[in-house]
C-alpha cells in the first residue's frame, strides 16, 4: 500500500470524528463526573497511611478504622450488628475484636469463646503481656494506630503465629469507652513498626537515662518484637545496649562495622545525626538462601539525657520490589 493510500485511509477514519465526539460527550463526560463525585470524596482522608509500604498493613488499618467509625456512630446497635454479622469481620488472616478499657472482650469475630471473658492477664508464648502493651499503645502518641506485636495461634492449629494488631479507641453515643482492634497473621515488617519502637525507646532514655536500658533490653517489652531489637551507643561508638551479643565477649567497633559491599552505615548515620534528630540508612546483607544481597535499613534516633548524647536504633528488612 502506498503512503498516500494510507493517509487517505487514515483521513476516512477521521471523517467519523464528529460521531466520536458525540460518543465522547455521552460516555466520557458522565464517567469523568462520576470519577469526580466518587473518586474525590475520600473516605479515608483523615487517615494517614503514607508511612506504610504494604497493602496488607494499609488494608488492616482501614478495616479496623471503618469498624471503629461504625461503632462510634452506632454504639450498642453497632455491637449487635457485629455479633449478627460475624463472618463479615474476619478473613483467613485477619479478624476484628472489641474490648472495653478493662480488657473485657465484648466481640471477637475469630474466637467467639473469648467473648465476655476478661483477658487483662493474657501473656503470649514469649512472655509478652498483650493487654498491657495494647493499653499502652492506645495512649502512645508516637504510635498513631496503636500497633502491638505478639504471637497468637490459629484455632485448631498447634504452633505460634506472629501477629501485628492495630487499634482505635472509641466512645459510643451511650458514653461507653471501647477499643476496636484487628490483627493480621504473619505480618510484613513495616519500617514504621521499627520507627515506633526506636522513638519510644529514645523518649524513655531521655526520661530515665541509663536506668531505661534494662526495660528496653527486655525481649518481652514493647521495644522489641520479632527480629527487631533496640540497641544504643554513644557518639564515640561505645555500646550501651548491644545489637548482638554482649560486647564483653568480643569487642564490637560499631563505627567500623561495614555491610557486604564495604559500606559503613554507622559512620554515615552518625555524621548525619550531628545535624538531624533521626536518620534512615540502607545497607546490604547476606542471605544464604538468596543469590543476591538483601537490602536492610537502620533507623537511628538521637536521645539526650543530662547533656549525654545517646544514639538509639534498630534494624529491619526493606520491602523487596519484584
Amino acid at each position: 500500500m502506498k503512503t498516500s493510500d494510507k493517509i487517505i485511509r487514515h483521513h476516512r477514519l477521521f471523517r467519523n470524528f464528529p460521531r466520536l465526539q458525540k460518543l465522547q460527550i455521552t460516555i466520557f463526560i458522565p464517567v469523568i463526573l462520576l470519577l469526580v463525585i466518587t473518586g474525590c470524596s475520600g473516605k479515608y482522608e483523615e487517615l494517614d497511611l503514607s508511612m506504610y509500604h504494604y497493602r496488607d498493613t494499609k488494608n488492616l488499618v482501614k478495616f479496623v478504622y471503618d469498624a471503629a467509625q461504625f461503632l462510634e456512630k452506632e454504639g450498642g446497635a453497632g455491637l449487635e450488628y457485629f455479633h449478627n454479622n460475624r463472618r463479615h469481620f474476619r478473613t483467613k488472616d485477619t479478624y476484628l475484636y472489641v474490648y472495653d478499657m478493662d480488657f473485657n472482650c465484648v466481640f471477637h469475630s475469630g474466637m467467639e469463646n473469648l467473648e465476655n471473658l476478661n483477658l487483662l492477664s493474657i501473656i503470649d508464648k514469649n512472655g509478652k503481656k498483650v493487654s498491657k502493651l495494647t493499653l499502652r499503645a492506645l495512649e502512645d502518641e508516637t504510635n498513631p494506630h496503636s500497633w502491638v506485636h505478639y504471637t497468637w495461634w490459629e484455632p485448631g492449629k498447634f504452633f505460634p503465629v506472629p501477629k501485628s494488631s492495630c487499634h482505635f479507641k472509641v466512645t459510643t453515643p451511650e458514653g461507653k469507652e471501647y477499643f476496636v482492634g484487628g490483627g493480621i497473621n504473619y505480618p510484613q515488617e513495616e519500617q514504621e513498626f521499627m520507627r515506633i519502637n526506636v522513638d519510644n525507646a529514645a523518649e524513655l532514655i531521655e526520661e530515665k537515662g541509663h536506668n531505661a536500658f534494662v526495660e528496653i533490653s527486655d525481649p518481652t517489652s514493647d521495644y522489641n518484637h520479632r527480629e527487631v531489637s533496640i540497641f544504643a551507643f554513644r557518639p564515640d561508638g561505645k555500646i550501651l545496649i548491644s545489637p548482638v551479643l554482649e560486647d564483653s565477649l568480643a569487642k564490637i567497633e560499631l563505627l567500623e562495622c561495614s555491610d557486604e559491599v564495604g559500606n559503613k552505615p554507622f559512620v554515615k548515620a552518625v555524621k548525619e545525626l550531628q545535624e538531624n534528630n533521626s536518620v534512615w540508612e540502607v545497607f546490604l546483607a547476606k542471605n544464604r538462601f538468596r543469590r543476591e544481597l538483601v537490602k536492610k535499613c537502620m533507623y537511628l534516633r538521637k536521645a539526650v539525657h543530662n547533656h549525654e548524647i545517646i544514639y538509639v536504633g534498630a534494624v529491619t528488612d526493606l520491602p523487596n520490589p519484584p
Partner: protein, 446 residues
Amino acid sequence: MSNKQRKFEYSVNEVPPPGQLLVLSIQHVMIMVVSLSIPILFCSQLSASMEFTTSLISLSMIAVGVGSIIQSVGIPYIGSQYLCPNLCGPSYFSLSLSAAWLGGLPLMRGLIIVAGIVEVALAPIVQKLRKVFPTYVVGLVVATVGVSIIKLGTTSVFGLAYYGDAIRSVDILIGVISLFIMVLSNIWGKGFLKMYCLLVGMVLGWLLALILVPEYWYNLLAVKNSPLFALPSFGPEFRGITIDLKMLIPFIVIAISGSLKSFGNLLAAQKISEPDLKEVNFVPIRKGLIADGISTAFAGLIGGMAVDTSSSNIGLAGVTKVVSRWISVVAGAIFIILAFSPKLITALSLIPKPVLGAAIVFSGCFMICTGLKEMFSQKWDTRKTFVVGISLIFGLSTAMLPELYARSPELIKTFFTDPLPTTTILAVVLHQIFNLDKMFTKEKKE
C-alpha cells in the same frame, strides 16, 4: 513493494507521515516509561533528596534518549539501524546501588563507564562468533528474550508492588481488560486501531483504573505539584568519577551478561525487521552492540543510570508490523524533551502497573513466538532437541529456582544469572559439543 505490503505497515527504513510518526513514537515511549521506576527506586533506597532524584531521572532519560537515537539513526560504525530503543537497564540496578553505597555517585559513574567500554570491546568478538550461532540457536535466543520479561510482565499485571504483599482482584481485572483491548484491537482492528493497539489499550486501561481504583485517581494529584519545566541540577553528588577494583569484576560480569541480552534483542530486531534474511547479518548486530556500549558509557559520563536495549519495544514493533527505525529516533527525542519536564515525567510514571504489565505481556508474546517459529523452521534432529532442551531447562531454572543457585558453586553462580544469558551460553557450548563428530568429518574432508 508488494512484499512490503504483506509484511509491514512501515518497513525499517521507511519514514511514516509526521503525525503518525509522532503517535507511533509516543506508543513506544509509553513502554519505555516502565523503566523509569529504576532510578525512582534507586533514589528511594538511597534516601536521596527530591532534587537528586529529579536530576538522576532527567539524566537517565537523556541517556536513554541519546542511546535510542544513536542505535537507530545509523552513523558510521555505530548503531544497528533497527527499531531498538533503550531503557534504564534493570540488570545493572543492584550493582549500581552497591556502588553508590560504597563510593557514592562518582563510583557508580566510573563503573558504568567501564561496563560500557567492556560492551564496546565485546562487539567485534560477537561478529566472529557467526559459526556458533546457527539459525535454531538464534531462534532460541530470541524466544528467551520474550521469556525473560515474564517476571516483570506478570508481577505488573497483578499490580504487585512488593513481594509477599496483597494482590487486588481489581488490579488483575484492569490488567486483563487492558491486555484484551490491545490483543483484540490488533486481531480485529484495522488502520490506526491496529497500528496503535497498544496505545489504545493503555489509555483505556488507565481510564478504567481511574474509575475502579480511587488510589490511582489520588496519585494524579502529584502531577499538580511538579513544575512543567526544570533543568537537572548538578549537585556535589554528581561531581567526580572514581573506580574501585573490588567492584570492577562484578560490573564486568554484568556487562558481559548485558551484552548477551542486547545481542538477543538485536537478533530479535533483525528477525522482525528483515525476516527474509537467510542467515544472521552480524554487521548491524556488532554496530548495535557498539551503540549499546557507547550509550551505557555516556549514561555513566553524564551521571545517569546504565542503559540497555528494550525487549518490549522490539516485541511491540513486531506485533504492530511497524518497524520503522525513525520511530525509535523520535521516541528517543521525546524522551530527551520529557527529561526537562517533571510534570510530564510524573504523569507518565503514574500509569497503573497492571496497564504497564499488559503492555509488557502483549509485546512479549510476539518475541516468544518469533523465536519459536525461527527455531522450528529448520529441519529438526536429536542433537537440536538436546541442545534446546538442556539449555532451556537450566536457563529457565535460574528464574524458577533462584534459591538453588544461591547455594551453588561460585563459578555457576557467576554465569547462571538469568534465563537469557544462561540459555545462550549453554546453547552455544552444547551445539559445539554435540556436533563435534560433524566438525571432525568436515575438517577431514577439507
